[in-house]
């Protein structure tokens, strides 16, 4: 498992506990309607940050029968580099993002190097370009994105971090994105080490927990390797590792909390 130690992830974390970290983007499908959620990291930027790209997002989507170039709706949960690295892979898409996120990533927050670190100037500039191309809709708080898809502002990790409440055949799931990176982060109310506002982040963590009412199978955290191994995979890498996970189906493996 790739190394990512608890002490690098959470305030007061142990230096020798390796949690690993997986990177996801998501796709919601209902009949022929497709909504892509986040665009993953730019593969060219990953090695310099010590991350290993596994598959291009185009190939990942193609594996489940979706052409990135035909996607018309992309929902951005926040603008960290590992979530908006491939905006131009979706040339026909309209994008949605919280106004609070955009204000943060273009404004006074970015004069703090420690907050700026999770964003890439060229990607933020591309978002600004999309505004002027009339391809962005700004969200303010909570609301209904589509029938069966609600968005919930979960500020803290970033100013406009958003989670999605999605109706599936297994009931309502909370796609927490990075409002919750790991199941145990939420269970133990751990303080993740990248944040815009720590107090707000912890409050959002609690709100995410309230959403699932104790049923952890209804939560999809944003970076937990357990997600990769708990759900049935529809596609695999050549080495057999899973790529496209059906997180709307019943888990095939228990949860370690």
């Amino acid at each position: 498992m790739p190394e990512r130690y608890e002490a690098e992830l959470f305030i007061g974390g142990r230096p020798d506990a390796n949690w690993g970290m997986d990177y996801f983007f998501w796709m919601l499908r209902s009949g022929t309607e497709v909504i892509v959620v986040d665009t993953g990291a730019n593969a060219a930027k990953m090695p310099a940050k010590g991350r290993t790209p596994l598959i291009s997002i185009e190939d990942a989507l193609a594996g489940v029968g979706v052409k990135a170039e035909d996607v018309s709706q992309v929902f951005l949960t926040h603008a960290h580099w590992d979530h908006i690295g491939n905006l131009d892979s979706f040339p026909k898409a309209h994008f949605w993002i919280q106004q609070a996120e955009m204000a943060s990533i273009t404004g006074p927050d970015m004069t703090f190097a420690k907050i700026r670190g999770a964003y890439q100037a060229d990607e933020v500039q591309r978002l600004v370009g999309l505004v002027y191309e009339d391809r962005i809709t700004f969200l303010d708080g909570d609301g209904c994105f589509a029938d069966g898809v609600d968005y919930l502002l979960m500020p803290g990790h970033s100013a406009g971090q958003t989670a999605l409440r999605i109706s599936t055949t297994s009931g309502q799931l909370l796609l927490a994105s990075d409002a919750v990176h790991y199941y145990r982060e939420a269970a133990e109310e751990l303080c993740f080490l990248a944040f815009n506002d720590a107090k707000a982040m912890l409050s959002s963590l609690r709100r995410c927990k309230a959403e699932i009412a104790g049923d952890w199978d209804r939560m999809i955290p944003g970076h937990d390797p357990q997600v990769t191994w708990r759900y049935p995979a529809e596609t695999h890498l050549s080495n057999g590792d899973p790529v496209a996970l059906r997180v709307d189906l019943a888990p095939i493996k228990g949860l370690e909390l």
Binding site: Q99, M102, T106, G107, M110, T111, A121, L127, V128, V131
Partner: protein
């Protein structure tokens, strides 16, 4: 003792003739106005030069049918100010005719109001009619400056330097600021585009380009109060009368090019 500054206006372009219906809210198509002049400014003291707005890019000015006089960068050089060494550039607001030469100041730190940035990168720009006065690449350049740690956000009102205060006016654009500058003849308010033409204050005629009409109108009154009704100490951003009222420092051909706006009328 408060420091005093010279205020130079660099008249880099002009528009000859303009209909009131294109200039003022409820303006008549029958009323022809003198037009608009385009300025960049520089505040100069013994040891410091602070640029206020960079002017618009030549191709954009010409593309809109305005008459180009000379580069605002040449105006600075005429005043002994080398743009490549300028350390401070205040952006009064981010309309295209004010931020067209950001790259000509490679060593500068830039200053702008935080609400202006939020407006030009956010929901306001999803309205085509509001987007018109801004250009994507210039908004992107400003964002780039933030990530290079070369942009300081000014919130509300405050002191910029000894003898220079900034006031958030808003109205014309979300983060439009005015500067109060101490000169040899006392405080002068450089309104830039918080007022385009003196008529806006004299007759409360509303300029046709605005972010918030009510805020713009309140701004006219506020600035009038700031100069206690003495409009010679209130400098609008585009009035063709400026070149007739203030001492000309330098002409370019027959056109007044550099004006001494802190000078005696």
């Amino acid at each position: 003792m408060t420091k005093t500054w010279k205020i130079y206006g660099i008249r880099y372009a002009t528009q000859n003739g303009r209909l009131a219906s294109h200039t003022f809210l409820w303006g008549s198509a029958e009323e022809e106005l003198a037009g608009l002049d385009y300025y960049s400014w520089v505040l100069v003291s013994d040891d410091r030069a602070i640029v206020v707005d960079t002017g618009g890019a030549e191709r954009k000015i010409k593309g809109l049918g305005r008459q180009w006089i000379a580069s605002p960068l040449d105006g600075l050089k005429e005043l002994g100010v080398d743009p490549s060494n300028v350390e401070d550039v205040i952006v009064s607001h981010a309309h295209w005719d004010h931020v067209g030469e950001l790259a000509a100041f490679p060593k500068a730190r830039f200053y702008m109001n935080d609400l202006e940035m939020e407006s030009i990168t956010g929901e306001d720009m999803t309205f085509a009619v509001m987007r018109e006065a801004y250009h994507a690449e210039e908004a992107q350049q400003l964002v780039g400056l933030a990530y290079e740690d070369r942009l300081t956000f000014l919130r509300g009102d405050g002191q910029f330097a000894d003898g220079i205060d900034y006031t958030l006016i808003g109205g014309h654009s979300a983060g439009q600021i005015a500067l109060t500058v101490q000169t040899d003849r006392g405080p002068v308010v450089l309104a830039t585009d918080a007022i385009h033409l003196w008529e806006e204050v004299e007759k409360e005629r509303a300029f046709l380009i605005f972010h918030d009409l009510r805020q713009m109108l309140k701004g006219y009154r506020k600035m009038n109060q700031m100069v206690a009704g003495d409009l010679t100490r209130l400098l609008p951003g585009h009035d063709p009368l400026i070149k007739d009222r203030y001492p000309i420092v330098k002409k370019h051909g027959d056109e007044p090019f550099i004006l001494d706006l802190g000078g005696v009328i």
